[in-house]
């Protein structure tokens, strides 16, 4: 772009100003990382890489390891995606393709409303409604008849990894649902009609257009949901049971990375304790960063393949 003097001074100022704003975002991310790194140095020096695989968390003896928290965050988020993905994609298809017009607006409005509820409200609802229901209706019968399966081993308390996963899934459904709906809506009407006019059923039409068009978008929606699940703090800590142990059974209490930081940061008096909490924050930061980076890479490939397919 050729730059002339005079009138383009304004352009230049505008460009520089917006550029500074963009740079500020970058600067904040770097600063965040730097501060987390600096504050976690004492713990890094003391425990090193063993911090990642140590299962003890003892503030009295100042022995710390992040394994139970990493495990809890990963399992509860995975569980949430496992439940939320089929539910929200199914709901999105129904709302877009089958639902009568009078139903579309209220259902999608309510679904989006779910996204606006503060997480502490979800947590309270979790304690008073979800946990007792899950405990009596699902977990107790499951341990009774399927207790030999390691995933369903008792005893049943209520607050558990399962409760956290189910609550998280409810919290991320609105995100995956609304993005999936947008993605489904981008499929050209003509393509859908083409499949139908060739004698395809609705199922075949959906399979073809979704397979061709929507997989990258739905994948992106899932990553968005995963991002929310990984970092969710308040609701998780209220139902997960806050027990720093990596146990296979979904009915046993666990702990998550964000939850332990929120729980112990204010009253962490020892330097190593505080530094270990910051280190957990750094690991969480790195984890979400890696997830987003990987998602970006996969998405680029998917989009390339999808556009080649048409």
């Amino acid at each position: 772009m050729a730059r002339k003097t005079g009138e383009n001074i304004k352009d230049l100022v505008f460009e520089r100003t917006t550029g500074a704003f963009a740079f500020l975002v970058l600067f904040l991310a770097v600063l965040l990382f730097a501060v987390l790194l600096r504050e976690s140095l004492p713990a890094l020096r003391k425990f090193g890489a063993a911090f990642l695989v140590t299962g003890t968390w003892d503030p009295v003896l100042e022995k710390f390891g992040a394994l139970p928290f990493i495990y809890g965050t990963v399992i509860s988020s995975f569980l949430a995606i496992l439940i939320a993905l089929p539910l929200s994609v199914g709901a999105a298809i129904f709302i877009n393709e089958f639902a009568p017009p009078w139903m579309k607006t209220p259902v999608s409005f309510l679904a989006e409303l779910l996204a606006a509820i503060p997480s502490v409200i979800y947590g309270l609802w979790g304690i008073f409604v979800l946990v007792p229901v899950l405990r009596d209706v699902l977990m107790k019968p499951a341990t009774k008849y399927l207790g030999w399966v390691p995933l369903f081993k008792g005893p049943v308390y209520g607050p558990s990894m399962l409760a956290a996963g189910v609550l998280l899934s409810i919290m991320i459904i609105p995100f995956i649902l609304s993005v999936s709906r947008e993605v489904l809506a981008t499929v050209p009407q003509r393509q859908k009609e083409a499949v139908l006019s060739l004698g395809g059923t609705r199922w075949e039409m959906l399979r073809i257009v979704i397979g061709q068009h929507c997989i990258p978008g739905i994948f992106g929606a899932t990553i968005l949901g995963l991002g929310r699940a990984l970092g969710e703090t308040m609701a998780v800590t209220m139902v997960i049971g806050n027990r720093p142990e990596a146990l296979l059974s979904l009915f046993q209490p666990g702990y998550s990375m964000a939850a332990v930081i929120a729980n112990e940061f204010t009253e962490a008096v020892g330097d190593v304790h505080l530094s270990s909490l910051v280190l957990i924050g750094l690991i969480l930061f790195a984890m979400t960063f890696a997830v987003n980076l990987a998602a970006k890479a996969i998405l680029t490939k998917m989009v390339a393949r999808a556009s080649r397919g048409i």
């Binding site: 003890t56 968390w57 003892d58 503030p59 009295v60 003896l61 304690i127 008073f128 946990v131 007792p132 005893p155 308390y157 209520g158 607050p159 800590t237 209220m238 049971g241 806050n242 027990r243 720093p244 209490p253 702990y255 939850a259 929120a262 729980n263 112990e264 204010t266 009253e267 962490a268 008096v269």
Partner: protein
């Protein structure tokens, strides 16, 4: 355009007027720390500022650990804590500090057991056994033999504890470590510890939530919290062998029992206190002030406030479910307040 300038001028004028109003404003005393005494301190600040319009308070209840950090850094005029400062953390201070006791709190075991009324009897060793995971069922003979009048249900004990670091946990674990050698060796004491068993709830409300929602659960909360939520409270055998129900009187009795052996710096634990009526899981909460004040007016205001707090302020404690300091302790605190000085001159 003219309109905009008019509005701007109006806004500026308001800012100037407001800042002048603030400039003529009373002295503001900043404090930060423990959450446990926050409702009491709020009431005190309100009442005191009403009676003395020259002083205003700004208190942030960020937790005891935070209060100690802030007073160490000198960003506040006073700190507040539920656990006395350790020798190690006192070494980091720029000058000598005083622990001024302001109120007493009690931690009480609460439970959820159908068919078992409030007042379940527990001994220190049984309570420790439950929290160590050694006593796992409610009809364990060790519990049953203490409670012969009720039939203990054949149910699992679900142990609940605080997941957040807190002064409540510090008092509770300090008690268990004092009365039980195994607990002392295996777990120890602190605002957060490595619990042998149980599930964690965030805050008093989190533990209460677990206990209320889970049949067979036992937890510990602050006395005020248990009272206000009408939870079933256990009675505990104290140092002199009496079973005591937790009340404000029983908590004050614990402080009275310790009054004689109270050290001059008040950094004392009230757990397992002597006295027939003493509730054994009691603790003090303190305000932290530097002995040598840097600002004469502020220092004087703090001393005047503390003098009021240990006299008139104590009368407001019961209504808010705090236990008042017993008389011998108040007299001792009054003496300590005389040590607060500005350039060597007492501000009392």
């Amino acid at each position: 355009m003219k309109k905009i300038y008019g509005v701007l001028a109006g806004v500026l004028a308001t800012i100037v007027v407001v800042s002048f109003a603030f400039a003529a404003d009373p002295l503001t005393i900043n404090g930060a720390g423990a959450t446990f005494p926050y409702p009491l301190y709020s009431k005190w600040f309100y009442e005191y500022s009403n009676a003395n319009p020259g002083v205003r308070f700004n208190y942030q209840s960020i937790g005891s650990g935070g209060g100690i950090k802030q007073i160490t850094a000198g960003t506040v005029n006073f700190g507040a804590t539920d656990a006395p400062m350790t020798e190690e953390s006192m070494k980091k201070l720029p000058g000598p500090i005083l622990h001024i006791p302001t109120a007493l709190g009690a931690v009480v075991p609460v439970y959820n057991l159908d068919g078992v009324p409030a007042g379940l009897k527990l001994t220190p060793d049984v309570l420790a056994g439950i929290y160590l995971g050694k006593i796992t069922r409610w009809n364990d003979p060790k519990i049953a033999e203490l409670n012969k009048t009720v039939t203990m249900p054949n149910a699992d004990i679900v142990v609940a504890h605080r997941s957040d670091g807190s002064g409540t946990t510090d008092i509770f674990t300090n008690y268990l470590a004092t009365v039980n050698t195994e607990w002392r060796a295996k777990v120890g004491r602190g605002p957060s510890v490595n619990w042998p068993v149980g599930i964690g709830g965030k805050g008093n409300e989190g533990v209460a939530g677990v206990v209320k929602q889970t049949p067979g659960a036992i937890g510990y909360v602050e006395l005020a919290y248990a009272k206000q939520n009408r939870m079933k409270v256990a009675s505990l055998r104290n140092k002199e062998g009496h079973f005591v129900t937790p009340t404000l009187e029983a908590t004050s009795a614990a402080a009275a029992g310790m009054a004689k052996s109270m050290p001059d710096d008040f950094r004392v634990s009230l757990v397992d206190a002597p006295g027939k009526k003493s509730w054994p899981i009691s603790g003090l909460t303190w305000i932290l002030v530097y002995k040598d004040q840097k600002d004469e007016a502020r220092g004087k205001a703090i001393v005047q406030f503390l003098k009021w707090a240990i006299r008139d302020g104590q009368k407001m404690e019961a209504a808010l479910d705090y236990a008042a300091l017993p008389k011998p302790v108040v007299e001792k605190v009054d003496k300590a307040l005389r040590q607060i000085s500005f350039r060597g001159k007492s501000l009392y």
